[in-house]
C-alpha cells in the first residue's frame, strides 16, 4: 500500500502545452503582426536619435541638448499647460455636443455631425491659417473692435498661449465628438431612467450616472488627446514663434525645417516622449482594468431614450449652433473668402466688391488634379480599412484580456509619438531595402498611413468594445459559436458605430496628411495634399483655399452619404 505523503502537493489539472499554446496563439499572432508594423520605424528612430547629423557617428548629444536647454522648465511648463487646456477644451466642447446630440431632444442634431465631418475634411494648413486670419491683427474680430471701440487697439492677440489652446482645442473637438457620440449612443438607459424615476434632476443623472458610465472612454480619450497635443508641432510653432513663446516642440520643429533637417533632435524627443506615453498608458491600463463595472451594453434590452431637456432645450440647441459656428462656419467662411479674393486682404467693402473665380478656374484647368484626388481616396480608404481591421481585433483581445494580449495597447500607441517627417524618412529607407520594388508607389504611402493612424483606430475600437459587457459574447460562446463567429455576429454589429466613426476619422485625416505624403511621393504616386502644399509654399494661397473648398465639399458629400447609409444599417441592427 502506498502511504499518502502529506507534504506532496495535490495533483492539479494542468493544461497541456498544446492547449496553452492554442490559447495564447491568436493574441500572440496579432502582437507579432503589430510588432512587425510598428517596431521597425522605432528602430530607425532610435538609431537616428543616437547618430550625429552629419557624420553618422554614435553620439548622445541629441539627448544632451534636449535636457540642457536652459529654458527647459519654462518650455515644459508651457507644453503641459497648453496640452492640458487644449485637451479640456476639446473634451468639454466635443463631449458636451456629443451628449446633447445623442442623449437629448435637442434640435439641429445633424448640424453637429456635418460640422465635425467638414472640419475633419478640411486640410490642416488652411484650417489653421483660417483661424489665424480670423483672430489675427488684420482679421474681422480685431477689425470690428477697431471700427467700434478703439481705432488703434487690438482686442485679442492670437499669438499667445490662449490663441494656441483655442485653435488646437477646436482642431480636436471633432475627434472627441465622433468618439463620444458613439459611446453615448450605446450607453445604457436603464440606470439613467432609474435615477430619473427616483427623482434625480437631469444634471444629477448626467453627472452621477451618464458621465460615470462613459468615464473609461472619456479618460482614454483625454489621455490620447493630451499626448497628441504634447507632440503637436505645428500649432505651437505657428502661433508661438511670432511672440517668442517656446514649447518643448518649438526647437524640434526648427531643427526639422533647417536644410538639411537635423532629424536627431526630433528623434531623441520622440524617444523620450515614447517613455512618457508608456508610463501614462500603464496607468490608463490600471484604470480600465475595472472597466467591466462600466460596461453598459449587456444582455438585457437597451434602447437609449433621449432626455427631455424641457425649457433648457433652446440652450442646448444654441450650444450646438455656437459649436457649429466655431468649428465650421467661421473657418470655412474665411477660407471661402480667401479663395474668392485675388490676394489676401482684410474683410471690407473693397474686398467684398472685388471677388473673383480666378482661383477656381486655375484649379479646374489642371486635369491632373483629378488623378491626384483619385490616388488620395484610394490610399486613404485602404489604409483606414486596414488600420480599423487590425485595431478592432487587437482592441477586442486587449479589453477581454486574452492570454498574451498585454502588449497590444502599448504597441498600437507607439506611432502616436512619431513626428510625421521622421516616420517619412524611416519609411524611405525601409521601402528601399524591401525586396519588392515598392519605393515611390502608393503602397508605401498607404503602409505609412496605417502605421501613423493605428493609435486612432485603437482609440475608436477600444472605446467601443469597453462598453460591451462580455456576457453577450459568453452567451454566444455557450451556445456554441466559435470566436470568429462571436466577433462577426455579436461584436462587430454592436461596435460598428465606433468602427465607422474611426474609419471615417482615419480616412479624412489620411486624405489631408502632408509630411509623409510629400516625402514618399513618387512620380506616379502623388496625393492631392502634395499639390496643395506645393502651391502653398509658392504662395498661391488663394488657389490652395479654392482647392480646399472643392476638396472639403467632395469629402463632405462622400462621407455624409456613407454616414447616412451606415447609420441606417446600424440603427436597424440595434433595433432603434
Amino acid at each position: 500500500m502506498t502511504v499518502l505523503d502529506a507534504t506532496r502537493s495535490l495533483p492539479v489539472y494542468r493544461k497541456s502545452a498544446r492547449e496553452r499554446l492554442a490559447e495564447y496563439a491568436p493574441a500572440i499572432i496579432v502582437t507579432i503582426i503589430l510588432a512587425v508594423i510598428v517596431i521597425p520605424p522605432v528602430i530607425v528612430l532610435l538609431r537616428t536619435s543616437l547618430r550625429g547629423n552629419d557624420d553618422g557617428v554614435f553620439t548622445l548629444s541629441h539627448y544632451a541638448s534636449l535636457f540642457s536647454d536652459p529654458r527647459l522648465y519654462v518650455s515644459a511648463w508651457n507644453s503641459v499647460s497648453f496640452s492640458v487646456l487644449a485637451m479640456l477644451l476639446s473634451l468639454v466642447n466635443g463631449g458636451l455636443v456629443a451628449w446633447l446630440v445623442e442623449r437629448t431632444n435637442v434640435r439641429f442634431k445633424s448640424l453637429a455631425y456635418i460640422s465635425a465631418i467638414i472640419s475633419l475634411g478640411t486640410p490642416y494648413i488652411i484650417y489653421v491659417s483660417a483661424w489665424l486670419y480670423i483672430l489675427g491683427r488684420a482679421g474681422p474680430v480685431n477689425g470690428l473692435y477697431r471700427a467700434l471701440v478703439d481705432p488703434t487697439g487690438t482686442l485679442f492677440n492670437v499669438y499667445s498661449i490662449t490663441g494656441m489652446v483655442l485653435i488646437e482645442g477646436f482642431l480636436w473637438s471633432p475627434l472627441v465628438f465622433l468618439l463620444l457620440s458613439a459611446t453615448f449612443r450605446r450607453s445604457n438607459a436603464d440606470m439613467e431612467e432609474a435615477a430619473r424615476i427616483a427623482g434625480a434632476s437631469v444634471f444629477a443623472t448626467v453627472t452621477r450616472i451618464s458621465l460615470r458610465l462613459a468615464m473609461p472612454a472619456v479618460l482614454g480619450l483625454g489621455l490620447f488627446v493630451f499626448i497628441r497635443n504634447l507632440e503637436a508641432f505645428d500649432v505651437p510653432v505657428l502661433i508661438g514663434t511670432p511672440s517668442k513663446i517656446s514649447l518643448l516642440t518649438t526647437d524640434i520643429y526648427l531643427s526639422m525645417t533647417q536644410v538639411p533637417p537635423q532629424l536627431g533632435h526630433a528623434s531623441a524627443f520622440s524617444i523620450v516622449l515614447m517613455f512618457v506615453v508608456a508610463v501614462l498608458l500603464y496607468y490608463y491600463g490600471k484604470i480600465s482594468k475595472h472597466a467591466e463595472r462600466f460596461a453598459s451594453i449587456t444582455g438585457k434590452g437597451y434602447r437609449p431614450r433621449p432626455f427631455d431637456l424641457g425649457r433648457s432645450k433652446w440652450l442646448g440647441s444654441a450650444l450646438i449652433l455656437f459649436n457649429a459656428m466655431l468649428v465650421l462656419v467661421l473657418p470655412l467662411a474665411a477660407i471661402l473668402y480667401n479663395s474668392l479674393t485675388p490676394f489676401a486682404r482684410p474683410v471690407n467693402w473693397t474686398g467684398l466688391t472685388n471677388l473673383t473665380f480666378d482661383h477656381y478656374r486655375a484649379v479646374f484647368a489642371q486635369s491632373y488634379y483629378l488623378e491626384l484626388a483619385l490616388n488620395t481616396v484610394i490610399v486613404a480608404a485602404a489604409s483606414a480599412t486596414a488600420a480599423i481591421l487590425i485595431t478592432s481585433i487587437a482592441a477586442w483581445m486587449n479589453v477581454r484580456r486574452w492570454p498574451g494580449s498585454a502588449l497590444l495597447d502599448q504597441l498600437t500607441s507607439v506611432p502616436l509619438v512619431f513626428p510625421g517627417i521622421v516616420l517619412g524618412v524611416a519609411m524611405i529607407e525601409m521601402a528601399l531595402n524591401f525586396p519588392l520594388p515598392v519605393y515611390g508607389t502608393l503602397w508605401v504611402i498607404g503602409f505609412a498611413f496605417v502605421i501613423r493612424y493605428l493609435p486612432y483606430g485603437m482609440r475608436y475600437s477600444h472605446a467601443g468594445i469597453i462598453q460591451i459587457h462580455r456576457e453577450l459574447e459568453d452567451a454566444a460562446g455557450i451556445s456554441g459559436a466559435s470566436r470568429p463567429t462571436i466577433l462577426r455576429r455579436i461584436l462587430v454589429p454592436l461596435i460598428s458605430p465606433s468602427l465607422i466613426a474611426g474609419w471615417l476619422f482615419i480616412f479624412l485625416i489620411a486624405a489631408k496628411e502632408l509630411s509623409i505624403a510629400v516625402l514618399l511621393a513618387g512620380y506616379n504616386a502623388k496625393t492631392i495634399s502634395v499639390a496643395m502644399f506645393d502651391q502653398w509654399v509658392n504662395g498661391a494661397g488663394g488657389e490652395v483655399a479654392a482647392m480646399g473648398v472643392i476638396w472639403t465639399s467632395v469629402m463632405t458629400i462622400f462621407t455624409a452619404t456613407l454616414y447616412m447609409i451606415t447609420r441606417r444599417r446600424t440603427d436597424l441592427i440595434s433595433g432603434k
Binding site: 488684420a138 533637417p261 485675388p342 472685388n354 504662395g539 494661397g541
Partner: protein, 346 residues
C-alpha cells in the same frame, strides 16, 4: 504602320533639329540625344511648383525631344534632399536631375552628384555656375523689403538698411524664420558680407533691438500677411512675389535696400539611372528656349540673355546692386548666420 511611325518620327526629329538649329543656343550633340532616347525617361526631382513651372518645362522638353518622358517628383528643397539622402544611403539615388536650393553640399557628401558642364552654361557669369560642373543656376531670387502701401506712405518708406533702425518700425518688421539662404539666415549673411564682420554685427545688434517678428513660415506667407495688413513692412521677401500681387491690385511694393540679397536655385546632374537624358534635360532647361519657359511661369531666369517678365526685377534692368550668395558662400557661412540669428533674434 511601323514604317509610318518611323517616317513620322523622322519628320518630327527633322523639325526639332531645324528649330533647334534656328535657336541661337547650340543644339545638343546628336549622340547624346540618341543615348537619351534609348533611356526613354528622365526623373526630375524639383522644387519648382509643379503646375506652374515643372509641368510646362517638362512639356516643352518632351515636345522638342519626343520619346523622352520627364517624370516629375515635386517637393520642397528640404523634402527632396531628405529623399535623396535616404536613397543614397540605401544604395544610390533614384533621380537623374535635381533642382533646388541649399542642397549641394549634403548631396556632394553623399556622393550623389555627377559633374557635368552644360553647353548653355558658357553664357552664364562665373558666380552663377560651378567651374567644375557641380551646379548651374537655373533661377534667381532677390530677397527684398516690402511694404503695405495702405499703411506706409511713400515718404515713410525706408531707403537704406539704416532706415530700418528708425524707432517707428519697432515691433512692426516681420521676416521669415527660415534658416536658409533665402530666409533670415540669408539676410544676415548679406549684411555680414556687404558691411563686413564688425560693422555688420553692430548693425544686426541694432536691428535686433527693433524686435523683429519671426514668422514661422515661408517668405510668401510673410508677404501675404503684409498685404493683409498684419504688419506694415517685411524684410527678406521675394521681389517677384510683390510684383505678381501688385499686378492684381494688392497694396504692396518692394523696396531696393542695397545690396539686395541674390540667392540661386541650382540644377545638378545626379548619379541616377538615366544620365544621358539628364544631361539633355539640363542643357534644355538652361538654354534660352528653356529659360523662356521659366520666365513665362513668373520665375526669374538665370540665363543672362533672357530678361525677366517684368524686366526691372533683374538687377541690370532694375538698376540695383546685389550681393550674390553662391552655394560655396552658403556652405561656409550658414552655420555662422544661424548662430547669429539664435543669439540676437530668436
Amino acid at each position: 504602320m511601323s514604317i509610318a511611325r518611323n517616317c513620322l518620327m523622322g519628320l518630327v526629329l527633322a523639325a526639332a533639329g531645324l528649330f533647334g538649329g534656328l535657336d541661337r543656343a547650340k543644339a545638343s550633340d546628336p549622340a547624346l540625344i540618341e543615348a537619351a532616347k534609348k533611356e526613354g525617361q528622365v526623373i526630375w526631382y524639383t522644387s519648382f511648383v509643379e503646375n506652374q513651372l515643372a509641368r510646362p518645362l517638362a512639356a516643352a522638353f518632351e515636345k522638342k525631344y519626343p520619346g523622352i518622358k520627364v517624370q516629375i517628383v515635386p517637393g520642397t528643397a528640404t523634402d527632396l534632399l531628405l529623399k535623396l539622402l535616404g536613397e543614397a544611403r540605401a544604395g544610390g539615388v533614384r533621380g537623374d536631375v535635381h533642382h533646388g536650393g541649399s542642397s549641394l553640399w549634403p548631396l556632394l557628401k553623399a556622393d550623389a552628384i555627377e559633374k557635368y558642364i552644360p553647353d548653355a552654361a558658357k553664357d552664364y557669369p562665373d558666380n552663377l555656375k560651378d567651374k567644375d560642373g557641380l551646379w548651374t543656376a537655373d533661377a534667381l531670387y532677390f530677397l527684398v523689403a516690402a511694404v503695405n502701401t495702405d499703411m506706409v506712405s511713400p515718404g515713410d518708406e525706408p531707403k537704406t538698411y539704416d532706415d530700418l533702425l528708425d524707432p517707428k518700425w519697432k515691433g512692426r518688421i516681420a521676416w521669415t524664420n527660415q534658416m536658409t539662404q533665402g530666409g533670415a539666415a540669408g539676410f544676415i549673411g548679406t549684411i555680414l558680407t556687404a558691411m563686413g564682420e564688425e560693422k555688420g554685427m553692430a548693425y544686426l545688434r541694432k536691428l535686433a533691438d527693433q524686435k523683429l517678428i519671426n514668422v514661422p513660415s515661408n517668405q510668401r506667407v510673410v508677404l501675404d500677411q503684409v498685404i493683409a495688413g498684419e504688419y506694415p513692412i517685411a524684410i527678406a521677401t521675394f521681389n517677384n512675389h510683390s510684383v505678381l500681387s501688385a499686378a492684381k491690385g494688392a497694396p504692396v511694393k518692394w523696396l531696393k535696400l542695397e545690396p539686395v540679397t541674390n540667392t540661386l536655385d541650382t540644377v545638378m546632374l545626379l548619379k541616377g539611372p538615366h544620365r544621358n537624358a539628364g544631361k539633355l534635360f539640363i542643357d534644355y532647361s538652361l538654354s534660352e528656349e528653356g529659360q523662356k519657359v521659366v520666365r513665362e511661369a513668373g520665375y526669374i531666369p538665370a540665363n543672362p540673355k533672357v530678361a525677366a517678365k517684368v524686366p526691372e526685377l533683374k538687377p541690370q534692368e532694375g538698376k540695383f546692386k546685389v550681393q550674390v550668395l553662391t552655394p560655396n558662400m552658403v556652405e561656409e557661412g550658414l552655420p555662422k548666420w544661424v548662430a547669429v540669428y539664435n543669439e540676437l533674434f530668436k
